[in-house]
Symmetry: C2
Amino acid sequence: MTKPNAPARAKPSPRVPKPEAGYHHGELQEALIAASEAILAEHGAEGFTLREAARRAGVSPAAPSHHFGNAQGLLTEVAIRGYNALAGALRDAASRKQGAREKLHAQGLAYVEFALRHPGRFQMMFANKRLVADDSRLRQASRAAGREFEAIIAELVGGTPKEAKTAAAAAWSTVHGFAKLALEEKFGSLSSEAGYREIMTTLNHVLNYLWPAGDARR
Amino acid sequence: MTKPNAPARAKPSPRVPKPEAGYHHGELQEALIAASEAILAEHGAEGFTLREAARRAGVSPAAPSHHFGNAQGLLTEVAIRGYNALAGALRDAASRKQGAREKLHAQGLAYVEFALRHPGRFQMMFANKRLVADDSRLRQASRAAGREFEAIIAELVGGTPKEAKTAAAAAWSTVHGFAKLALEEKFGSLSSEAGYREIMTTLNHVLNYLWPAGDARR
DNA sequence: TGCCTAACTTGACACTGTTCAGATTGCGGG
DNA sequence: CCCGCAATCTGAACAGTGTCAAGTTAGGCA
């Protein structure tokens, strides 16, 4: 029950080894990442444990070090994928709308929704001390996600690049702060789906307040 | 060298016991809280350890449990004091200015300054999983700090209580998100005083952008 | 076929938070 | 004055953590 990869039907492709061999797991990197994401989903960022990830992947506690160096290395990989998923969600949300303001609102909703639906992963993405903070791929993934914002912002505010940068910082701060405060239950309980929806409508009001329709700063 | 309280000169006041007696420390609660705050200041929220706090207070690792139950209890006390300090900083900042908009800007700067000057304490205040999240005194302290915002916001936006609540959520989200992102170095390095000042001017731009002088929503 | 090397295990170490029985202390009541 | 008792703190233990060095296995290439 704990192993995520039930051998429903052994893949017939010849080069994929059986996932449960003794030594030589074969796909340990992927298995460890998947296990880590499962732990984050189940127990949040504070509940992650390298040994538990190894346990779920069916290997000894020392095995991950050969692939990721240490726990920070593994979590960095998880965070990179998280940023990629976030960037995808932001891009998706914007692509479904027309007009810069509508795109930005949709991105804000998508950002908070991502945070509330995957709290552990989200918190870990922004837990610099638990990651290899200066990893170039991590920084790149983070900046790529940020650029999804900046692209829409530039479309919305026009103006000089400096103005656009300010507006992007403002937008990111708003949705990030809202997500963080919501996750700490500062806007009410999150345990029920009703509470979740209430918080999302509060977010809608906030976005309408800070980025109104006929914005003179446009 | 690790003990913060060097017995420079034994206080002559009769009722204060010597701080280094064997059993019966006398002021253990305060000593543990002070030690915890020192650890947070030196090593951040991730660096806190109950045993280290006990060590600095000159006491066995089991001693704190008699006063705070467990590590969460001690950290909850630290967080309460943090919220009180934050509320004081917000009140101070507002009291130095005239006009609702100026007060709000000053509060925003004070909020971020608090976060950047005391990162460990700030992060711990919002680390629900490491605190007794439903402690009534903690909730009260948190709401008291929030009210410092709401008071100014109500003055600024007027309108219905619902509008004021929306605006307060917007303001808190903005400064909280900015502080969190700044602490994760998403706006540049924080290691130098120059970087710190640059980030604070960015915050100024953000505040001017989101709450401009001649705000039509006022 | 045989061997080299990457992949993984084993066992250990220094930590962590928490529990529990017992030692110590000082305060209040006689 | 002093003595019992409750509050306070210790010491040792336990289960669990991340990481390292050294040993073992097996996949694939010569």
